[in-house]
C-alpha cells in the first residue's frame, strides 16, 4: 500500500472519514461491539433534524434496531465512524445501544442458558 493512495471514497464522496466525527476515533468508556444493536428513541426521532447528516441517517435507519456493522454497510461509512457517532447519539438519548450479553465474554451465570436459547432458535429455523 502506497502512502500516495487516495483516501477511500465514503458514501460516494471523497472525504477524510473521521472528519465526520470531529477527528475522534474512540467511543468513550464502553467500546461498542460490531453487532451492537442501535435503536432510535422517540426523542431521537423527534430531534432528528437537529443532527448532522450522518447522525440523522443513523437515527432514521435505526427506527428498527439495526447493528453497527449493518449501519456502516448501508450508509457506506467505516465501522469506526458509526461507532463514534452511535456513542454520541446514545449519550444524548437519541438512540439506545444494546451490546451483546456480557456473559458471552465472562462465561458466567446465565451463559449456558443463553446458549440453549440460541441453539433452540437455530434448530427452529
Amino acid at each position: 500500500m502506497s502512502i500516495w493512495d487516495p483516501q477511500p471514497r465514503i458514501g460516494g464522496r471523497i472525504v477524510r472519514p473521521y472528519t465526520m466525527t470531529g477527528g475522534r476515533t474512540s467511543q468513550g468508556e464502553a467500546p461498542i461491539a460490531l453487532e451492537a444493536l442501535v435503536a432510535a428513541t422517540a426523542e431521537g426521532m423527534r430531534r432528528r433534524d437537529s443532527f448532522r447528516w450522518e447522525s440523522a441517517e443513523i437515527i432514521h435507519r435505526s427506527r428498527t434496531a439495526t447493528a453497527v456493522i449493518e449501519l456502516a454497510a448501508l450508509m457506506e461509512v467505516p465501522i469506526g465512524v458509526v461507532k463514534v457517532l452511535a456513542a454520541d447519539l446514545r449519550d444524548s438519548g437519541a438512540v439506545t445501544v444494546t451490546d451483546p450479553p456480557e456473559v458471552l465474554t465472562t462465561e458466567g451465570d446465565g451463559y449456558t442458558e443463553l446458549l440453549r436459547k440460541v441453539l433452540d432458535g437455530i434448530e427452529a429455523l
Binding site: 477511500p8 453487532e35 435503536a39 447493528a67 469506526g80 451483546p100 458471552l104 446458549l115 440460541v118 432458535g121
Partner: protein
C-alpha cells in the same frame, strides 16, 4: 420495553464467526442462511509502516481499509444472530480480535484441497479459547478426505467437531451453526477449555 411499539422490544445480538482461507466459501456459507443478502462493511485500519524513505518519519502511519462480509438471522427468544466472515488476508488477523470478542463460537471452513489456508484460523481460535468447529466444504458433495485425515492434518483436539457441509445448502449451514453452539455448551458444562 419503555416503548409500546412492538419493534422496540429489546432484541439481543449474538454472533458466530466464520473463518477460513480466501475462496473457501465463507460468503456463500453466510448467504445460504442469512435473511439479508450478505453485506460488506469496511473498517479503517492504521498501520505503521517501515520507514523506507528517510524523508518520512520512520513510524509513518498508513491507513487502509479492511472489508468484512456479514449476514443476519432473526431467531426466536428475541435473539438476532450475526454471522461474520473474517477478512481473508493474513495481514488482517488482528481484526479477528474484535470479531472473536463475545462470539458464541466460530466455524473454520475448510477446503481440503487447500487445507493449509485454515491453519491461521485454527491457531487463532485455539489461542483465544474460542469454541470452534471445523466444517469441511464438500463443494458439490465430494468428500475428498476422511474426517480423521482432516483432524490429523489440522492437529485439532479430539473433542473439536469435524462436520461435512455444502456451504450453498441452507440445512447444512444450519446444522454447522447448531454444532458450534452445542460444542460451546458441551465445553461449558464439561469444563473443557480446549478447542
Amino acid at each position: 420495553m419503555e416503548s409500546k411499539h412492538s419493534e422496540m422490544t429489546r432484541l439481543t445480538p449474538v454472533k458466530i464467526v466464520i473463518a477460513g482461507g480466501f475462496g473457501v466459501g465463507k460468503t456463500t456459507f453466510v448467504g445460504a442462511i442469512s435473511e439479508i443478502e450478505p453485506l460488506r462493511s469496511e473498517a479503517i485500519i492504521t498501520e505503521v509502516s517501515d520507514g523506507v524513505d528517510e524523508l518520512w518519519d520512520s513510524s509513518q502511519k498508513i491507513t487502509t481499509t479492511v472489508a468484512m462480509d456479514f449476514g443476519r438471522i432473526s431467531l426466536k427468544h428475541d435473539l438476532v444472530l450475526y454471522l461474520f466472515g473474517t477478512p481473508g488476508q493474513d495481514r488482517f488477523h488482528f481484526m479477528w480480535n474484535e470479531l472473536a470478542r463475545g462470539a458464541i463460537g466460530a466455524v473454520v471452513l475448510v477446503d481440503t484441497r487447500h487445507i493449509e489456508a485454515c491453519f491461521a484460523a485454527v491457531d487463532f481460535f485455539e489461542r483465544k479459547g474460542t469454541p470452534f468447529v471445523v466444517a469441511v466444504n464438500t463443494f458439490h458433495g465430494r468428500r475428498l478426505h476422511g474426517s480423521e485425515q482432516v483432524r490429523q492434518a489440522l492437529q485439532v483436539a479430539p473433542q473439536v467437531p469435524i462436520i461435512y457441509c455444502d456451504a450453498r445448502v441452507r440445512v447444512d449451514v444450519q446444522r454447522v451453526l447448531a454444532a458450534v453452539v452445542e460444542h460451546a455448551l458441551h465445553r461449558a458444562t464439561s469444563n473443557l477449555k480446549v478447542g
